[in-house]
């Protein structure tokens, strides 16, 4: 359902250009739980941006389902992001002056869903992550784990084909990290593709497939049937 073919990407740095991705081929099937690992400078952030339609690439092709994602206008990219992808970020990225409910409902606002309907849906998803009681709270009244769960509910509400998580546990302690991973597993069990970008081994060990990135190329891939459940 997600296909990267020979993706190249360079950034201009002054007169020269920095070749970050040097031909990436990845195929991810529907319902997979994948982690992309790499140290800083390996190109994993760039890859994440391309996967998330947050940035363009220079060469190759990227398909989500049958849709070619290439050289999109800002508007088109925004629509695809909204439709296909749910984001989870290291720093949660909740809007600070909006309640948990409003934060979760925001993606539906950009789908022109009526206020009443999206608030009802938001409560449903907050319930799924166990935070219905916190619907009226502002983000700064919640713990890190709670914030990330709100962010997950927000990522899920538009029923995306893929959840893209950028270091989802980077700002959390081990116990909370495991809780968050548990939620991601539950999502995956419902059949949603989950791609986690991380540099933590114990996180990647909880996924069925690990793609190791190094210097802009795929170094190796691991697949395992038995994974450590959080």
């Amino acid at each position: 359902m997600l296909r990267l073919q020979n993706i190249h990407k360079s950034y201009p740095i002054g007169q020269q250009s920095l070749h970050v991705l040097k031909g990436i081929d990845i195929d991810i099937q529907s319902g997979e739980l994948v982690s992309i690992m790499g140290s800083s400078g390996s190109g994993k952030s760039t890859l994440l941006n391309i996967l998330g339609i947050l940035d363009n690439y220079d060469e190759g092709s990227y398909y989500i389902g049958d849709t070619l994602i290439k050289n999109l206008s800002e508007t088109k990219a925004a629509v695809y992001r909204n439709q296909f992808i749910g984001f989870i970020f290291q720093s949660f990225n909740l809007i600070s002056f909006k309640s948990a409910r409003e934060n979760v409902a925001l993606p539906l606002y950009y789908q022109n869903v009526s206020r009443r309907k999206r608030n009802a849906l938001a409560e449903e998803y907050l319930d799924k992550v166990g935070l219905l009681a916190w619907a009226d709270h502002l983000p700064n009244e919640m713990s890190g784990g709670q914030k990330q769960r709100v962010a997950i509910a927000r990522a899920l509400i538009s029923q995306p084909q893929m959840i893209l998580a950028d270091e989802p546990t980077g700002a959390l302690d081990t116990k909370t990290s495991h809780e968050v991973m548990q939620v991601l597993h539950d999502i995956n069990d419902d059949g949603i593709t989950v791609v986690i970008v991380t540099h933590e081994h114990d996180i990647s060990e909880m996924t069925k497939r690990v793609i190791h990135l190094r210097d802009g190329l795929i170094e190796r891939e691991e697949k395992r049937d038995l994974i450590i459940r959080p």
Binding site: L54, T75, A78, R81, N82, N93, S96, P107, Y110
Partner: protein, 428 residues
């Protein structure tokens, strides 16, 4: 479409940044307040001066005799020109554009005006019936002078309202009763009022010129000639004034170019000049007012830039969640337009309230009660008459505000739309 959510977003940002919004709004509100005040003051000045001018017909020419400044055809310089009824006839018949015409004769010395035991000091104008149109005199009671009054040498008078008030008492109907001028009795046939409140012009007594010349030993002498020119243009009026000089110069043997022999006051020309001055003033006022407003707009633009900078991360999140560039632009623009429109509207209201306060005259009493108006000539204040701005101007100012708000928000909004979500999200 009314988008409740967008408005809630805007109110939320405003509520969270009260001081900033207040200061921004103040700069625009102040700008539009100054605009209204300046335009109102300009209008007031214009109204005040127009009122002075409009007490005479603005299409009139006044001619007074003077003294020759140069020798001409054997006549010495410094010769005094005297007008007689013949000059009146000369202009009446010699200038085809003449519409209404009257000459004026002033009774020599200081005439004593009385009714029973009431005395008063008023100016007396001995005129032709055409004087009514020439001076824009309106009739409150009775009638104005007629040709029959003149041809029959009737001893009748039309008196101003204030004359009536002084000699007969306020509200008394004096028609048919007599007043005495230097012991000659004149029967009041009419009471005049000024069409536009001009107190001085209501302290006048009008007499038939023929009667007055005969009774007060005026012979055939007159002191000035006044006529109107219909809808003559400025150029036509200048040509008429030139021909008047020509005609009178020929009869009295002076050089038509001698500016001091007779004085010709062309009110069309004066009015034109006045209008030019007013136009200049209006442009100047708009220039200043729009400048003030511009400062406010730039202030709003600045604040919106800061807003965008502050909300970079939030905008990045929104974009990641599927906000299109247009929806981001809309968000910023709408806030900017909202702030400018509301504060501008308040500025307009405050400006109009200030003008109304001036008009109400309450401030005058207030100042007087504190003895602050001592030595101030109240007539000088009169030059500002009914300062106001018409609804059209207020409406245009409103439109200007909305456009200004949009303009102020445009650059910041464009910046916001350009924000790349990934950069915004990484920003801590």
């Amino acid at each position: 479409m009314f988008d409740l959510d967008k408005w809630q977003e805007i109110f939320e940002t405003i509520r969270r940044n009260r001081l900033r919004t207040l200061l921004t709004g103040f700069s625009v509100g102040w700008g539009i307040f100054m605009l209204v005040l300046l335009l109102g003051a300009g209008k007031g000045l214009e109204n005040g001066v127009t009122r002075e001018i409009a007490s005479d017909a603005i299409n009139s020419i006044f001619i007074f005799p003077g003294r020759t400044a140069e020798a001409y055809k054997g006549y010495k310089a410094g010769r005094r020109i005297r007008f007689t009824n013949d000059d009146y006839e000369l202009i009446k018949n010699g200038i085809p554009e003449v519409e209404y015409i009257s000459s004026r004769f002033y009774i020599p010395g200081t005439p004593i005006i009385s009714r029973q035991n009431n005395f008063g000091s008023f100016s007396i104008r001995c005129v032709h019936p055409g004087h009514q149109q020439v001076e824009n005199t309106a009739i409150d009671l009775g009638r104005y002078l007629t040709e029959r009054d003149l041809s029959d040498y009737r001893k009748v008078a039309v008196i101003g309202r204030r004359v009536r008030d002084a000699l007969f008492g306020e509200g008394v109907n004096p028609i048919g009763q007599d007043i005495k001028i230097n012991n000659f009795a004149f029967t009041v046939v009419g009471v005049s009022k000024e069409s536009i409140a001009d107190a001085g012009e209501e302290e006048v007594i009008y007499l038939p010129i023929t009667t007055a010349q005969r009774i007060f030993n005026g012979k055939n002498e007159i002191n000035r000639i006044i006529f109107t020119m219909g809808d003559a243009t400025l150029d036509e009026s200048k040509d008429i004034a030139r021909r008047v000089r020509q005609l009178v110069a020929e009869r009295h043997h002076f050089n038509p170019k001698d500016r001091q022999a007779i004085w010709v006051r062309n009110n069309i020309e004066n009015f034109q000049e006045f209008q030019n001055v007013m136009m200049g003033m209006r442009i100047f006022i708009w220039f200043i007012a729009v400048g003030t407003l511009m400062a406010g707009i730039i202030g709003v633009g600045n604040i919106m830039l800061i807003v965008v900078k502050e909300r970079t991360k939030e905008i990045g999140i929104r974009k990641a969640l599927g906000a299109t560039p247009n929806s981001i632009i809309g968000l910023i623009l709408q806030e900017s337009v909202f702030i400018t429109t509301i504060s501008g509207y308040l500025g307009i209201l405050l400006g109009i309230a200030t003008l109304e306060f001036y008009n109400s005259g309450v401030w005058l009493e207030l100042f007087q009660s504190f003895n602050m108006m001592q030595g101030v000539d109240l007539n000088a204040i009169d030059i500002f008459y009914n300062p106001s701005i018409d609804l059209g101007v207020a409406f245009r100012a409103m439109i200007l505000l909305v456009v200004a708000g949009a303009f102020a928000g445009l650059m910041p909004a464009y910046r916001a739309a350009k924000i790349r979500p990934i950069v915004a999200l990484r920003e801590e």
